[in-house]
């Protein structure tokens, strides 16, 4: 294959990926039990969330522990509009959810980016936790700990009801593909490449002429928007919302997902979601120890496989191809 011209290689790779993708994402769900389709759907939703988180962590080097705030903002906006304001229009609710996530991203991002490093991590946590506490205490509005039930699937007047698990899966698949496409393009763009430079050496990037704060801020808001999208899609999936959407557990979950897959590769978080969510589904259906396993997984990954699965594979690949690297 090394004799083939790069263009041909590229075309073959794309065709292969499309075929594999179609096989996995389109054909398989049609033939499996709807329980597994449900899991698939949740994987796609969390994949959007994890990819959005990784824009911050993997590409820009900003470790935000508060992404659940945007997931929750998206979810609660939809829930509140549907339950409290009786608004049925899906697109309106979605637009509102994205707007809410954007505004929250603008505010939280501005505050958090006043600091760097460990303080940034702390502040993102504190901000998200404050939102959680607000949601949890404001019973009269958000339903508090009990949450809000009764969010039906969107109804477009089409012959296929989105109440059906498989139909809803394909609905989500569209959002997944669009999100992956947009986020991938962003990472390959001048903006995206700059983020990587900022991650590796922010002072030098400034000395080159980049207004690095602007890039970080923009990235933060982008991550917030896609986090909000994921939250909105999840609430339609679940049919109800609870403060868990805003909780630290959700933030930690998305961190683990990105980490296990590998934060330095675009598709890493997707793989991470598959791994983590599969483990969770198996563990939760047999035991009550998922939280414990989650903690153990985090500890194990950080102590033994910091680069994640894809990171490890790519390291092996480089060693095989170019010889064992120095240092």
């Amino acid at each position: 294959m090394d004799l083939a011209p790069p263009m041909l290689k590229r075309i073959v790779t794309v065709i292969f990926l499309l075929a594999a993708g179609a096989g996995i994402f389109i054909v398989t769900p049609l033939y499996i039990n709807s329980y597994y389709v449900l899991i698939f759907t949740e994987i796609l939703i969390y994949a959007i969330f994890a990819l959005s988180f990784n824009m911050l962590m993997g590409y820009t080097g900003l470790f935000s522990l508060g992404q659940s705030a945007f997931f929750g903002a998206g979810g609660y906006t939809v829930a509140l509009l549907v339950v409290r304001a009786d608004i049925d229009n899906f697109w309106l609710c979605l637009a509102a959810a994205l707007a809410a996530a954007t505004v929250l991203g603008l505010v939280f991002g501005y505050l958090a980016l006043r600091t760097t490093g460990i303080y940034f991590i702390m502040i993102t946590l504190a901000l998200a936790q404050m939102l959680w506490a607000l949601v949890w205490r404001w019973r009269s509005f958000t339903g508090g700990d009990d949450g809000l039930p009764g969010i039906g699937r969107p109804d477009f007047g089409l012959p296929w009801s989105l109440g059906d698990t498989t139909n809803y899966y394909f609905f989500i698949l569209v959002f997944f593909v669009v999100s992956v496409f947009i986020l991938y393009r962003i990472t390959k763009s001048p903006f995206g490449r700059t983020l990587v430079g900022i991650r590796e050496n922010e002072p030098r990037m400034q000395a080159l002429g980049y207004n690095t704060w602007r890039y970080k801020y923009a990235c933060f808001v982008i991550a917030a928007i896609f986090g909000g999208l994921a939250g909105a899609l999840k609430v339609y999936q679940d049919g109800y919302i609870s403060p868990t959407y805003c909780s630290m557990l959700t933030s930690a979950l998305v961190v683990l997902m990105a980490l296990i897959g590998g934060t330095r590769i675009f598709a890493g978080p997707i793989l991470g979601v598959v791994v983590v969510w599969s483990i969770r589904s198996i563990v939760s259906s047999h035991t009550e120890y998922w939280t414990l396993i989650l903690g153990v997984l985090m500890v194990v990954i950080v102590m033994f496989a910091r680069q994640g699965i894809l990171g490890y594979i790519s390291q092996l690949w480089r060693e095989v191809r170019y010889g064992i690297p120095e240092g």
Binding site: L134, W138, L292
Partner: protein, 289 residues
Amino acid sequence: MPEADQIGLVLLNGVSFGMLLFLLAAGLVLMLGVMNIVNLAHGSFYMLAGFIGIAVATRTGNFLLGALAGMLAIGFVGLVMERFFLRRLPGHVEQVLFTLGCVYIIWDLSRIIWGSHPQYLPPPEILTGTVPIGDYSFPVYRLAVTGFGVITGLVLWLFLEKTRFGAVIRAGADDKEMVEGIGIDVKLVFTVVFTLAALLAGLSGVLGAPILTANLSIDWQVLTLAFVVMVVGGVRTLKGAFMGSLLIGIVDSVGKFFFPELAMFLLFGLMALILAFRPYGLFSYRGLH
């Protein structure tokens, strides 16, 4: 318009709660200042100590034994965490991830061992009873906790400023390489500091049990507030931790009194203001003083 004794009550509640927060925040500030570590499991230390303390106190009938047990158990956990794990982890991100994992491990183990219901611990006999504040009464125990917090603050301050080991800790916070150059075992200093912070958290967890109960949501509750204390008061100074704790305790208490459902807005507003104008806290200062 609230009456004077109501205001007094709210303030006293805030101050006593603030002192509990101070015990936590002080540990966090020490760890951050000296080791540049943020221990996300600090709230879990508090929670676990509460459970252990209650278990021992109810079994032995002795509050003091419970407090000691909780404190020492957490000190031990902290020691193990630092000595065998945190020491090996290269950077912030890894340390945060590790301690975050510990949060969930501790949480679920607590749930498995003690169940999901909040547990109560009555204050020690000598400290039961109340003190009249106008038309209202204020628990003696809370006064005692307040006093204890102030004393601990003073002791810590004296320790850092006036003792040799305290000087070593302060120097390590300022310049690790220099301290190493003098021949001091920085690793040992780190272990001591982390364990000390853990002991404080453990103590705070048991002392707080009669006030806040021991339950499964207290870990994030106190950690978040301790973080807010650090953001507002200053991330590296003990004085900031003390002042910040008082402020946050009072604001939290006031908020809960006037707008119980929206109390968070008040705290959030405060934090946002500080971040906008003094991102490193009101009493920020280089070094640990």
